[in-house]
Amino acid sequence: MSAAVQGRAGGRRIRPFDWRHNPGFGFFTALIMLFLYVPLVVLVVFSFNANHFVTVWTGFSLHWFVRVAHNGDIRHAAYISVIVGVMATICSTMIAIAAALGFERGGSFRGETSAMGLVMMPLVVPEIVTAITTLIFFSSIGFHYGVLNLVIAHTVFCIPFAMLPIQARLRAIGTGYEDAARDLYGDEWRIFLRITLPLMVPGIMAGSILAFVTSLDDFLISFMVSSAGSTTLPVYVYGMMRLGVTPEVNAISAILLVISAALALVAFLISRPNEAGAAAGGTVAATTN
C-alpha cells in the first residue's frame, strides 16, 4: 500500500506486465523467423540458379522453370493434383456446409461434442495413421479406381479445413437475420437460399480455398493411395528427388509455394472479420437486452 503511494508520489507510473519487454524476446522471435523462412528463401533463390547445383549460385536463369514446363510427367502430375484438388474441394465443402449448419443451426443434440470431435479427427490423428488406414481400407474392399481413390481420401481429410471457417462465419452472422426472415413469412428452404447462404459466402470461399490448398499440399496420404496413373505433384516430386536433386525440384516447389501462399492469403483476406455481415450478429434475444 505505502509502496504504491510512494510510487505515485515519485511520479513513476507502474507499467502493467508486458511480455514484449522481456529481455531477449525480439532476438528469440527473429531466430524462429530465420529458421522458418531461410530455407524457403534459399529454395526459391536456387530455383533461378543457372547451374545444376542446388547449393552453389552461379547466375540467374529461368532455365529450370522452362524445363518444368516442358516435362510431360510433371504436367500430368500437376493435372492430377488439380483434378483431385478441385473434386475434393467441391465434395468436402458441400459436406462441410451441411455439417456446419447442423452444428450451428440444428439446435443442440445428443452427442454433439462427440460428433464435432469425429469431424475434427483428421486434424489430430497422425497423418501416417490416416494414410495407412485409408490404404488398408481401399485394399480390403477392393476399391482401385485411381484418381477416384485420391478424391475420396482427400475429401475426407479436407472436411475439417473447409468446415472451420464456414462454422465461424455462421456463428458470427448469428440467427438474428434468419429470425427476421422467419418473421417475414419465409420458409426454411427459401430463408437458406436467400439469407443464410449469401451471408455464408465469405466462409465458404475461405473454407474451400483452405481445402484446396490442403489437398494440393498433401503428400503422405496421396503417396499411399496413388497408383501408377494417378500420381499427384508432391508425390512425383518426391520420386524425382530419389533420382538426385536438381533445381527442377526447386522450381516446382517454388511454384507450389507461391500458389499455396497466394490462396491462403486470399482465404485469410476473405474470412477476416469485416463490415455489416458480422456486425449485427448474435441472436435477437442476446442483442435486445
Binding site: G176, D183, L184, Y185, T288, N289
Partner: protein
Amino acid sequence: MLHMAALKTSTDGDRARMASVALSDADRPVTRMVPQPDPLRHLIEVVQVEKIFGDPTNGHKALEAINVSIEEKEFFTLLGPSGCGKTTLLRMIAGFEHPTTGEIRLQGRDVASLPPRTRPVNMVFQNYALFPHLTVAQNVAFGLEMLNWKKPDIAARVNETLALVKLDTFRQRKPAQLSGGQQQRVALARALAPRPQVLLLDEPLSALDLKLRREMQFELKRLQRETGITFVLVTHDQEEALAMSDRLAVMNTGRIQQIGTPEEIYDNPANRFVADFIGEANLIPGAALGRNASVVIAVRPERVALASPDMPARLRGVVDSATFLGSDTLMEVTVPSGRVRARIRGAARLAPGTEVGLAWPADAERELAD
C-alpha cells in the same frame, strides 16, 4: 394481401375473417365476406401465460401469470425495467418463443405453438436485423416475396411503403450505407410492407440519439395513425411510454403490475413499484401522516405545495435545496420520515435550512399497500 391470408390460416372460418381484414385496403377491390368484428373478441389475448427458461421445474421463471388483451388499432406499450421479461413476451406474440403454460390468441385463435411465419404479425428488431447483402428495396420486398405476391404488386407496395417512411430516394443503398435513423426506417418499412395486423417494436428508439428519438416518436405515432395497424412497443423509458401509448402495461420481475391508459397509471398507480417507476413520486410511510402503518402514501412532487392558511401543513420539514427551473421551483425538503420533493409553481427562493410546512389536496394522495 390475399396470399398472406391464405398462407396464414388453416381453418375456413378464420380464412374468411382474415380475408375480410386483409381486403380492407383502399387500393384493392373489397368484398366483405364477414360482418362486423366481434366486439368481445380482442385482437391479441395473452391468457395466463407463464414462461420458464431451461428446466421446467427449477429453471428461470421469466414470465408469470401474464394476462393482457390488446385491441385493434391500439398503440400498446410494454414498459418495465431491463430484464423484466418484455422482450420475452413480445417474442411470444411474434412466435419466436412459446409459453410454458397459457395461451396466446390472435383474433381468437390460439397460436401459442405456431411458428412466426404463420402469424400476421411483423417485428422491428432492436438491432434492426436488416439483411446486409440486400438493398433497401430488396429488404422491404422480402416479406412480400415470401408471401408470393406478384412482381408488379411487390414493386408498387415497396414504393408505397418507402414513401410512407420517407426513404424513397434510398432504394438502391445497402443497409451499411445508411445512418442509424435511416436503418430504423427501413426496418419499419420492411415490417409494415406485408400489412400485418400487429407491428411489434422492441426498444426501437433506444439506439438513437435524443433528438432523433423525439422525432421518431412522432413518426411512429403518425405511422400508426396512417396505417391503422396495432402497434405493440417495448420500452424501459417511462416518458416514451406515457407520451406514445393509448394503453400500457407496466411490468416488473416477470409480472404485470398494472394495465391502463397513461393517465390512469400516472394518477392511480396500483402499487409502490408503479408509483415509483412512472414519473416521480414521494412515497411517505403511513405512520408519518398519522395513518395505518402498513400503507404508503404516494404524492407527486407537482401536487405538493407550501402550507398556507387555507391548506394546513401535513408534514413539516427543513429545506435542503431549492432550485429555480423557470416556471417551477424544485424543492428538496427533509422531513422526519425521510425526504420529500416538491415542485412548486413560480419562484420560491427559500434558503436551505428554512423550516417549511408541506401540504397537498386530499385527492393528490394515493394509498398503496406497502
